[in-house]
């Protein structure tokens, strides 16, 4: 296998943990934001309890923790705009797309039109997406 320094790889960040109970979601998001500077072909997948990361209206004030959920809104500015959410995981949790933060990005090739970043996909579609990747990190 040939590896070139200039090569663009397909990176997928899989998020399978709920926020706040453990730090994986928070520190995983930090990897994605730093990684955005490397100009790779990046997407995120939210599977299982990972879908809870995108829940609207998170407020950690009473729990005395940091609320990192607003940082997901920054993803679009970093050109991380493919956020795949597994439909089956939402349904199993009694959740729907309306529960998720309305994350968007601005498409410079389309006169900076604001477009949704979140795409709810089936398990089968997600399985296909997994196969396409070069590097997969799991948080």
């Amino acid at each position: 296998m040939e590896t070139k320094v200039s090569e663009t790889k397909k990176f997928m960040y899989i998020n399978r943990h709920a926020p706040h109970g453990t730090v994986y979601a928070h520190e995983g998001l930090e990897v994605v934001l730093i990684g955005a500077a490397f100009e790779q072909d990046v997407c995120m997948a939210f599977i299982g309890d990972g879908v809870f990361q995108l829940k609207q209206d998170q407020d950690t004030t009473e729990a005395g923790m940091k609320n990192f959920s607003p940082a997901y809104r920054a993803l679009g500015d970093y050109e991380v705009n493919k956020l795949y959410v597994e439909r089956e995981s939402l349904e199993e949790r009694g959740m729907s797309e309306d529960d998720l933060m309305p994350l968007t990005w601005e498409d410079e090739d389309d006169d900076w039109a604001e477009k949704p970043s979140i795409r709810v996909v089936s398990r089968q579609e997600l399985s296909d997406l997994l196969e396409e990747q070069d590097v997969i990190l799991n948080f």
């Binding site: 706040h20 109970g21 453990t22 730090v23 729990a63 005395g64 923790m65 940091k66």
Partner: protein, 130 residues
């Protein structure tokens, strides 16, 4: 009522230390006694003074140290668990040939007997972990 609290996970990685802290604060506010807070497993990592969390985040270690100072809490780090993970006070540093220590203010290192004693002496033992 006399409570003891056991914390089994380190700061930030799991919410255990946060919940234990909030419980302890609420118990004190309600007029209860905290006999001891015992740190075991990765919980010993709450007792290092070397953390520098982001400025917009809570400082978990300092929060414990400050609560201990305010209420004379007994914060005990298990010695065996601490040795596996590198939490060291001056005595332990000397004993194990380490060139420094990292224990945070208000914490002390002692044996597992302190946990059993807490279970015997307290009306309730609350455990927070992974």
């Amino acid at each position: 009522m006399k409570f003891s609290v056991m914390v089994n996970e380190g700061p930030y990685t799991h919410q255990a230390s946060d919940t234990a802290y909030q419980f302890t604060r609420a118990a004190l506010a309600a007029g209860h006694e905290i006999f001891r807070v015992f740190f075991y497993h990765d919980g010993v990592n709450n007792g290092t003074r070397m953390t520098t969390p982001p400025q917009d985040d809570r400082n978990i270690v300092n929060r414990w140290s400050e609560l201990a100072a305010e209420h004379e809490l007994d914060l005990v780090v298990c010695v065996a668990a601490a040795q596996r993970r590198g939490i060291v006070d001056a005595d332990e540093a000397k004993r194990n040939g380490k060139d420094g220590d990292n224990i945070a203010p208000g914490f002390r290192i002692s044996g597992l007997g302190q946990l059993i004693e807490a279970g015997i002496q307290s009306d309730r033992l609350l455990v927070f972990g992974d």
